[in-house]
């Protein structure tokens, strides 16, 4: 393995959780931001999750610990 190397990755990240804080669902009007969305934009945020595809490059340096095997 070369001391320095470049890696290329393609990944899919599957989102498990709801990113809206559902604990606030019953108090939509009590939070300024959700209140603004409701009364200025007639919008209530939904429950949703986020996943993503990513393309990543990495530059890596390898480290060795040379010693006699036991």
């Amino acid at each position: 393995m070369a001391r320095d190397n470049i890696q290329f990755n393609v990944r899919y990240n599957f989102g498990f959780n709801n990113v809206f804080n559902e604990e606030l669902r019953d108090d939509i009007e009590g939070i300024p931001q959700t209140n603004e969305l409701l009364y200025d934009y007639n919008y209530i945020e939904n429950d949703f999750s986020i996943s993503n595809f990513s393309i990543l490059f990495s530059y890596n340096r390898e480290f060795y610990i040379h010693k006699k095997k036991k």
Binding site: N21, P32, I44, F48, S51, F63, H66
Partner: protein, 281 residues
């Protein structure tokens, strides 16, 4: 005066570089002589000839050749301990040094195999682009749920940048920890009545802490291919709903436009994801 100092310094460095070149040339000649002695079987003369040059006088390539030669000499002198020490010296100079099974003597190959010579871990930097694919779980429309037609769609590229630490568990499995800053971008549209629509562009930033296992399954022309499997915990840094817009496309009601709404106040402060992927290096 300044000119005089400059001239003295320049002359000094020229002389130093000439001296170094002469010393290196001298050591190169000694290495060639040592290799000839080794081939002629006069191995006892080799260490004295090149020992001093190993300290200083060789370039990296010649130093590696000299240390390999010395290791072989000590092996043939049956001085395995000294051969091992010299091999370790060689690996210090060239940590990624690999034996040539077709050219190297079997004694050298055997000694090399007695030492850990593979990389233990790697550190690096990582960066890239992402496309967010949001998924609606439940609709909570201010009007009729059935007519809301809430849509969450990707909107351009986000990015990630961070650090990468890899522990080489064995030749086939790596354990990767890759903390990075990631920004995700996506669009929401929803009907808020028969005549009106809401839209906005989300930008969410997290510090992601993925832990990934990589399994190497194929090598081709020096490139290794692997599959990734893991999970990630993302810590929410910021969340903005940019350009919120409530519009009435078919009637003359005035639109309501905004700059942004800080959506962190109603967002979960974490993001859990499962990871699958492929890669090469």
């Amino acid at each position: 005066m300044k000119l005089l100092y400059t001239q003295i310094l320049t002359t000094f460095f020229i002389l130093l570089s000439i001296q170094l070149t002469i010393a290196q040339d001298d050591c190169t000649v000694k290495l060639i002589e040592a290799e000839k002695l080794y081939e002629d079987g006069k191995i006892e003369k080799v260490p004295d000839l090149i020992d001093n040059c190993i300290e200083s006088g060789f370039n990296k390539e010649n130093k590696i050749s000299a240390l390999r030669l010395l290791t072989l000499v000590y092996l043939y002198e049956d001085n395995v301990d000294k051969a091992g020490e010299t091999l370790l010296q060689l690996l210090k100079v060239s940590p990624e040094y690999k034996i040539d099974r077709n050219l190297d003597p079997i004694e050298f190959i055997r000694l090399y195999s007695m030492y850990s010579t593979e990389s233990v871990f790697s550190l690096g930097i990582v960066g890239g682009a992402n496309i967010t694919t949001p998924r609606l779980i439940s609709t909570y429309s201010a009007t009729d749920y059935d007519k809301a037609e809430s849509k969450y769609t990707s909107n351009g590229l986000g990015f990630s940048i961070g650090l990468k630490g890899t522990y080489h568990f064995n030749n086939e499995i790596d354990i990767i920890f890759e903390p990075k800053f990631s920004q995700y971008s996506f669009l929401i549209t929803e009907n808020t009545s028969n005549l009106s629509q809401f839209s906005g562009n989300y930008k969410k930033s997290y510090i992601d802490f993925p832990l990934i296992g990589s399994y190497y399954f194929y090598d081709y022309r020096g490139a290794s291919f692997y599959v990734d499997l893991g999970f990630s915990y993302g810590m929410l840094i910021s969340s903005k709903l940019n350009n919120p817009l409530h519009e009435f496309p078919e009637v003359e009601n005035p639109d309501k436009k905004g700059s942004y709404i800080n959506s962190k106040a109603f967002s979960k402060d974490y993001l859990l994801t499962g990871i699958i992927g492929v890669g090469t290096k």
